[in-house]
Protein backbone atom coordinates (compact mmCIF):
# COMPACT_ATOMS: atom_id res chain seq x y z
CA UNK A 1 0.00 0.00 0.00
CA UNK A 2 1.15 3.49 -0.82
CA UNK A 3 -0.27 6.68 0.63
CA UNK A 4 -0.04 10.22 -0.57
CA UNK A 5 -1.50 13.24 1.18
CA UNK A 6 -2.40 16.75 0.19
CA UNK A 7 -3.74 19.34 2.62
CA UNK A 8 -6.14 21.91 1.20
CA UNK A 9 -7.26 24.36 3.84
CA UNK A 10 -9.44 22.54 6.33
CA UNK A 11 -9.38 19.41 4.23
CA UNK A 12 -7.01 16.57 3.81
CA UNK A 13 -6.91 14.44 0.72
CA UNK A 14 -5.34 11.01 1.12
CA UNK A 15 -4.77 8.87 -1.95
CA UNK A 16 -4.43 5.14 -1.35
CA UNK A 17 -2.81 2.77 -3.82
CA UNK A 18 -2.64 -1.02 -3.43
CA UNK A 19 -4.09 -3.33 -0.78
CA UNK A 20 -5.84 -1.93 2.28
CA UNK A 21 -5.90 -5.04 4.42
CA UNK A 22 -4.69 -6.75 7.55
CA UNK A 23 -1.05 -6.13 6.70
CA UNK A 24 -1.40 -2.44 5.83
CA UNK A 25 -4.26 -1.20 8.05
CA UNK A 26 -2.03 -0.25 10.99
CA UNK A 27 0.22 1.90 8.80
CA UNK A 28 -2.82 3.46 7.14
CA UNK A 29 -4.27 4.30 10.54
CA UNK A 30 -1.19 5.88 12.03
CA UNK A 31 -0.18 7.83 8.94
CA UNK A 32 -3.65 9.23 8.23
CA UNK A 33 -4.18 10.15 11.89
CA UNK A 34 -0.76 11.78 11.93
CA UNK A 35 -1.51 13.83 8.82
CA UNK A 36 -4.93 14.84 10.15
CA UNK A 37 -3.41 16.07 13.40
CA UNK A 38 -0.48 17.78 11.72
CA UNK A 39 -2.57 19.61 9.13
CA UNK A 40 -5.37 20.36 11.59
CA UNK A 41 -7.79 19.30 8.89
CA UNK A 42 -11.46 19.04 9.69
CA UNK A 43 -12.58 16.90 6.76
CA UNK A 44 -11.01 13.93 5.04
CA UNK A 45 -11.26 12.86 1.43
CA UNK A 46 -10.06 9.31 0.92
CA UNK A 47 -9.29 8.64 -2.69
CA UNK A 48 -9.61 4.87 -2.98
CA UNK A 49 -9.63 4.82 -6.75
CA UNK A 50 -6.44 2.80 -6.95
CA UNK A 51 -7.18 0.40 -4.10
CA UNK A 52 -6.74 -3.10 -5.44
CA UNK A 53 -8.07 -5.04 -2.44
CA UNK A 54 -9.90 -4.41 0.80
CA UNK A 55 -10.83 -6.78 3.64
CA UNK A 56 -12.76 -6.34 6.89
CA UNK A 57 -9.68 -4.96 8.67
CA UNK A 58 -9.21 -2.36 5.94
CA UNK A 59 -12.86 -1.45 6.18
CA UNK A 60 -12.49 -1.14 9.94
CA UNK A 61 -9.56 1.24 9.48
CA UNK A 62 -11.70 3.50 7.27
CA UNK A 63 -14.60 3.43 9.72
CA UNK A 64 -12.18 4.16 12.57
CA UNK A 65 -11.05 7.37 10.83
CA UNK A 66 -14.73 8.26 10.31
CA UNK A 67 -15.39 7.97 14.05
CA UNK A 68 -12.47 10.25 14.79
CA UNK A 69 -13.75 12.84 12.32
CA UNK A 70 -17.26 12.67 13.75
CA UNK A 71 -15.92 13.48 17.20
CA UNK A 72 -14.55 16.77 15.89
CA UNK A 73 -17.44 17.61 13.56
CA UNK A 74 -15.60 16.62 10.40
CA UNK A 75 -16.80 14.71 7.39
CA UNK A 76 -15.55 11.79 5.39
CA UNK A 77 -15.83 11.69 1.62
CA UNK A 78 -14.66 8.76 -0.47
CA UNK A 79 -13.67 8.45 -4.09
CA UNK A 80 -14.76 4.95 -4.95
CA UNK A 81 -12.50 2.33 -6.45
CA UNK A 82 -13.56 0.76 -9.69
CA UNK A 83 -14.70 -2.77 -10.33
CA UNK A 84 -15.09 -5.54 -7.79
CA UNK A 85 -13.43 -3.69 -4.88
CA UNK A 86 -16.17 -1.10 -5.09
CA UNK A 87 -18.81 -3.80 -4.63
CA UNK A 88 -16.99 -5.08 -1.52
CA UNK A 89 -16.97 -1.58 0.00
CA UNK A 90 -20.67 -1.17 -0.62
CA UNK A 91 -21.49 -4.57 0.83
CA UNK A 92 -19.47 -3.43 3.84
CA UNK A 93 -21.91 -0.53 4.17
CA UNK A 94 -19.49 2.31 3.45
CA UNK A 95 -22.14 4.12 1.37
CA UNK A 96 -24.28 4.47 4.49
CA UNK A 97 -21.67 6.39 6.47
CA UNK A 98 -19.64 8.34 3.94
CA UNK A 99 -20.39 10.41 0.87
CA UNK A 100 -19.20 8.59 -2.22
CA UNK A 101 -17.87 10.26 -5.33
CA UNK A 102 -16.83 8.89 -8.71
CA UNK A 103 -13.75 11.12 -8.89
CA UNK A 104 -11.57 13.38 -6.77
CA UNK A 105 -12.61 16.33 -8.89
CA UNK A 106 -16.30 15.66 -8.20
CA UNK A 107 -15.62 15.38 -4.46
CA UNK A 108 -13.67 18.64 -4.34
CA UNK A 109 -16.35 20.40 -6.43
CA UNK A 110 -19.04 19.20 -4.02
CA UNK A 111 -17.03 20.49 -1.07
CA UNK A 112 -16.54 23.86 -2.72
CA UNK A 113 -20.21 24.16 -3.69
CA UNK A 114 -21.17 23.26 -0.14
CA UNK A 115 -18.87 25.95 1.18
CA UNK A 116 -20.28 28.61 -1.13
CA UNK A 117 -23.79 27.65 -0.02
CA UNK A 118 -22.92 27.78 3.64
Amino acid sequence: MELECEARGARLIVRVTGDLDLSSAAAFRSRVDGWLAESRSRDLLLNLRHVSFIDSVGLGAILGRLRGLQRTGGQLAIVEPEGPVRAILRIGGIDKVATLFPSERAAVAAWEANERGA
Binding site: D19, D21, L22, S23, A25, A26, R29, F53, I54, D55, S56, V57, L59, G60, A61, L63, G64, G83, P84, V85, A87, I88, I91, G92
Partner: protein, 164 residues
Protein backbone atom coordinates in the same frame (compact mmCIF):
# COMPACT_ATOMS: atom_id res chain seq x y z
CA UNK B 1 -10.71 -29.83 -27.45
CA UNK B 2 -14.34 -30.44 -28.42
CA UNK B 3 -17.46 -28.98 -26.90
CA UNK B 4 -17.52 -31.75 -24.28
CA UNK B 5 -13.81 -31.31 -23.59
CA UNK B 6 -14.15 -31.28 -19.82
CA UNK B 7 -16.17 -34.49 -19.55
CA UNK B 8 -13.71 -37.37 -19.49
CA UNK B 9 -11.75 -38.16 -16.34
CA UNK B 10 -12.64 -34.91 -14.57
CA UNK B 11 -9.77 -32.78 -15.88
CA UNK B 12 -11.30 -29.89 -13.96
CA UNK B 13 -10.53 -31.62 -10.68
CA UNK B 14 -7.42 -30.19 -9.14
CA UNK B 15 -5.83 -29.78 -5.74
CA UNK B 16 -3.39 -27.46 -4.05
CA UNK B 17 -1.87 -27.32 -0.59
CA UNK B 18 0.05 -24.47 0.98
CA UNK B 19 1.82 -24.45 4.33
CA UNK B 20 2.89 -21.07 5.57
CA UNK B 21 3.95 -19.38 8.78
CA UNK B 22 0.97 -17.50 10.20
CA UNK B 23 2.21 -14.03 9.35
CA UNK B 24 0.36 -11.00 8.12
CA UNK B 25 2.42 -10.83 4.97
CA UNK B 26 1.40 -14.38 4.04
CA UNK B 27 -2.30 -13.54 3.92
CA UNK B 28 -1.66 -11.83 0.59
CA UNK B 29 0.28 -14.88 -0.62
CA UNK B 30 -2.68 -17.14 0.22
CA UNK B 31 -5.11 -14.80 -1.50
CA UNK B 32 -3.08 -14.64 -4.70
CA UNK B 33 -2.48 -18.40 -4.78
CA UNK B 34 -6.12 -19.31 -4.20
CA UNK B 35 -7.35 -16.78 -6.76
CA UNK B 36 -4.90 -18.19 -9.32
CA UNK B 37 -6.06 -21.72 -8.51
CA UNK B 38 -9.71 -20.65 -8.78
CA UNK B 39 -9.25 -18.94 -12.12
CA UNK B 40 -9.41 -22.37 -13.80
CA UNK B 41 -13.11 -22.38 -12.92
CA UNK B 42 -15.54 -20.08 -14.75
CA UNK B 43 -15.76 -17.50 -11.97
CA UNK B 44 -16.51 -13.91 -12.91
CA UNK B 45 -14.16 -11.15 -11.72
CA UNK B 46 -16.59 -10.07 -8.97
CA UNK B 47 -16.83 -13.69 -7.82
CA UNK B 48 -13.05 -13.99 -7.73
CA UNK B 49 -12.93 -10.79 -5.68
CA UNK B 50 -15.44 -12.25 -3.23
CA UNK B 51 -13.29 -15.33 -2.98
CA UNK B 52 -10.18 -13.22 -2.37
CA UNK B 53 -11.95 -11.46 0.48
CA UNK B 54 -13.33 -14.67 2.01
CA UNK B 55 -9.94 -16.41 1.89
CA UNK B 56 -8.17 -13.36 3.31
CA UNK B 57 -10.61 -13.23 6.21
CA UNK B 58 -10.00 -16.90 6.99
CA UNK B 59 -6.20 -16.58 6.77
CA UNK B 60 -6.34 -13.25 8.62
CA UNK B 61 -8.21 -14.90 11.47
CA UNK B 62 -5.40 -17.44 11.80
CA UNK B 63 -2.81 -14.67 11.94
CA UNK B 64 -4.82 -12.55 14.37
CA UNK B 65 -6.25 -15.17 16.68
CA UNK B 66 -4.87 -18.69 16.39
CA UNK B 67 -1.50 -18.17 17.99
CA UNK B 68 -1.65 -15.71 20.89
CA UNK B 69 2.14 -15.33 21.09
CA UNK B 70 2.28 -14.13 17.51
CA UNK B 71 -0.74 -11.95 18.16
CA UNK B 72 1.14 -10.24 20.96
CA UNK B 73 3.96 -9.55 18.55
CA UNK B 74 1.58 -7.83 16.17
CA UNK B 75 0.92 -10.94 14.14
CA UNK B 76 4.24 -10.71 12.44
CA UNK B 77 6.60 -11.90 15.06
CA UNK B 78 8.66 -14.26 12.98
CA UNK B 79 6.37 -17.18 12.47
CA UNK B 80 8.04 -19.78 14.66
CA UNK B 81 5.38 -21.98 16.11
CA UNK B 82 2.39 -20.85 14.13
CA UNK B 83 1.44 -22.32 10.81
CA UNK B 84 -1.56 -22.06 8.54
CA UNK B 85 -2.45 -24.71 6.04
CA UNK B 86 -4.53 -23.90 3.00
CA UNK B 87 -6.01 -26.63 0.87
CA UNK B 88 -7.94 -25.89 -2.28
CA UNK B 89 -9.81 -28.41 -4.36
CA UNK B 90 -11.87 -27.99 -7.46
CA UNK B 91 -14.35 -30.76 -7.91
CA UNK B 92 -17.59 -31.08 -9.80
CA UNK B 93 -17.34 -27.47 -10.92
CA UNK B 94 -17.10 -26.14 -7.36
CA UNK B 95 -14.18 -24.80 -5.41
CA UNK B 96 -13.56 -25.91 -1.85
CA UNK B 97 -11.01 -24.01 0.21
CA UNK B 98 -9.93 -25.10 3.68
CA UNK B 99 -7.89 -22.90 5.97
CA UNK B 100 -6.69 -24.60 9.11
CA UNK B 101 -4.37 -24.03 12.03
CA UNK B 102 -3.24 -25.89 15.12
CA UNK B 103 -3.69 -22.92 17.39
CA UNK B 104 -5.80 -22.18 20.41
CA UNK B 105 -9.15 -22.86 18.78
CA UNK B 106 -12.47 -21.11 19.22
CA UNK B 107 -14.36 -21.77 22.44
CA UNK B 108 -17.79 -20.96 21.05
CA UNK B 109 -17.99 -21.21 17.27
CA UNK B 110 -21.66 -20.20 17.09
CA UNK B 111 -20.92 -17.00 19.00
CA UNK B 112 -17.81 -16.27 16.93
CA UNK B 113 -19.83 -16.51 13.73
CA UNK B 114 -22.19 -13.77 14.85
CA UNK B 115 -21.70 -10.40 13.12
CA UNK B 116 -19.55 -7.99 15.09
CA UNK B 117 -18.36 -10.65 17.53
CA UNK B 118 -14.72 -10.04 18.32
CA UNK B 119 -12.22 -10.98 20.99
CA UNK B 120 -9.84 -8.32 19.77
CA UNK B 121 -9.01 -5.40 22.01
CA UNK B 122 -8.62 -3.27 18.93
CA UNK B 123 -11.81 -1.20 18.56
CA UNK B 124 -11.25 -1.03 14.81
CA UNK B 125 -11.51 -4.79 14.38
CA UNK B 126 -15.11 -5.04 13.33
CA UNK B 127 -15.65 -8.73 13.95
CA UNK B 128 -16.88 -9.17 10.38
CA UNK B 129 -14.48 -11.90 9.30
CA UNK B 130 -16.93 -14.80 9.46
CA UNK B 131 -19.72 -12.57 8.15
CA UNK B 132 -17.66 -11.81 5.06
CA UNK B 133 -16.72 -15.49 4.62
CA UNK B 134 -20.37 -16.42 4.82
CA UNK B 135 -21.52 -13.62 2.55
CA UNK B 136 -18.96 -14.29 -0.15
CA UNK B 137 -19.14 -18.06 -0.41
CA UNK B 138 -21.95 -20.57 -0.89
CA UNK B 139 -21.21 -22.62 2.21
CA UNK B 140 -19.10 -22.10 5.31
CA UNK B 141 -18.25 -24.77 7.85
CA UNK B 142 -16.19 -24.08 10.94
CA UNK B 143 -14.77 -26.83 13.12
CA UNK B 144 -12.74 -25.96 16.15
CA UNK B 145 -11.37 -27.65 19.24
CA UNK B 146 -9.99 -25.45 22.01
CA UNK B 147 -6.25 -25.96 22.25
CA UNK B 148 -6.08 -28.00 19.06
CA UNK B 149 -6.98 -25.64 16.28
CA UNK B 150 -9.59 -24.53 13.81
CA UNK B 151 -10.56 -25.53 10.31
CA UNK B 152 -12.68 -23.32 8.10
CA UNK B 153 -14.10 -24.84 4.93
CA UNK B 154 -15.63 -22.65 2.28
CA UNK B 155 -17.35 -23.80 -0.90
CA UNK B 156 -17.95 -21.53 -3.84
CA UNK B 157 -19.55 -22.31 -7.17
CA UNK B 158 -19.43 -20.16 -10.26
CA UNK B 159 -22.91 -18.70 -10.64
CA UNK B 160 -22.90 -19.08 -14.41
CA UNK B 161 -21.92 -22.72 -14.71
CA UNK B 162 -20.71 -23.93 -18.08
CA UNK B 163 -18.39 -22.06 -20.37
CA UNK B 164 -19.75 -19.57 -22.88
Amino acid sequence: MGPEGSAAGGPDDNTMELRLPARQGNVGVVRVAVAAFASALPFTLPELEELRVAVSEAAGNVVLHAYPDLDAAGGDGGGDGGEMVVRARSTGGALVVEVSDTGRGIADVAAARQPEFTTSRDPEHLGLGFTFMERFTDALEVESAPGRGTRVRMTKRPRATGTP
